[in-house]
Symmetry: C2
């Protein structure tokens, strides 16, 4: 019967992981279609630039590590791309460097995610106390990925405006 429970967990883990990897696939495809020059442009007049959203999504993916119990690997991106709005930081890394950072973060995160057992995905993420988690068992590690997937789509919808038609 525990087996049943695990089978059920596996199904749900797959649903959430598939959604996450599908969005990442769309982002990678879009990145491959956009030149470094295009990424320097604003996605709409007066809005964030592509380079900012690339750094933002990389920093947010990186911020998943601690919630799963690992250390960030691109901490230096958080201040300029999450804490600070676009166009208010003097100098940003080059687009080519950010592309590499994105690949590094996504690859390492996929490895870590693949190694987490179904049971562990349903344990609390590190920013929830044990006491709160007993009352709110939906605040688990998998829920972090679920909500980040949707946030990814939010910015994907904006980034695709950089494509020429």
């Amino acid at each position: 019967m525990t087996g049943n429970n695990t089978a059920q967990q596996q199904v749900f883990v797959k649903m959430v992981h598939d959604a996450w990897h599908s969005k990442l696939g769309q982002f990678d495809k879009l990145l491959s279609e956009l030149s470094d020059e295009q990424l320097q442009k604003e996605v709409a007049p007066g809005r964030n630039r592509g380079i900012y959203l690339l750094g933002h999504l990389t920093a947010l993916a990186d911020s998943i590590f601690p919630l799963l119990g690992y250390e960030k690997i691109a901490e230096h991106l958080f201040q300029p791309f999450v804490h600070t709005p676009d166009k208010q930081t003097g100098e940003l890394p080059a687009v080519s460097e950010l592309r590499q950072e994105w690949t590094r973060v996504k690859t390492s995160l996929a490895e870590k995610m693949a190694a987490i057992s179904p049971e562990e995905w349903f344990q609390r993420h590190t920013s929830v106390s044990q006491e709160d988690f007993e009352k709110e068992p939906h605040r688990n590690k998998l829920n972090v990925v679920l909500s980040r997937t949707s946030h990814f789509d939010y910015h994907l919808g904006q980034l695709q405006f950089l494509k020429t038609r």
Copy 2:
């Protein structure tokens, strides 16, 4: 032990429903902040208008009904807002009418969703055959809501460009 399994399912269902309702809440807030006139504008130069995205999101929410085993209640919106790109249909409904349609669809869908049992959410959605479902149990009803939530965010990120700063 079946109880355990159901408790687990309830947690998953809550995770996905919370994410869905959270996006709908964001969409409602945005709609309340945008005038009918603002919704007539393109979200970015040469891109979809707000009115089109309002109709699009309403028609896509409506298209969830059949996947859960119910009939659509706003079928007339599918052709102009999903099948046809923006600015290629002669006359669209008024924004005020679309706001009402959105409220009607979202309210009815919430009622239907609330009445589905945790077990039923993990049964196949109507566009998957029983045979395929046995091999791919993640293609269940809950997965429809999960993927639609993310798609909602895709367009929310674009619609918020209509807000004046």
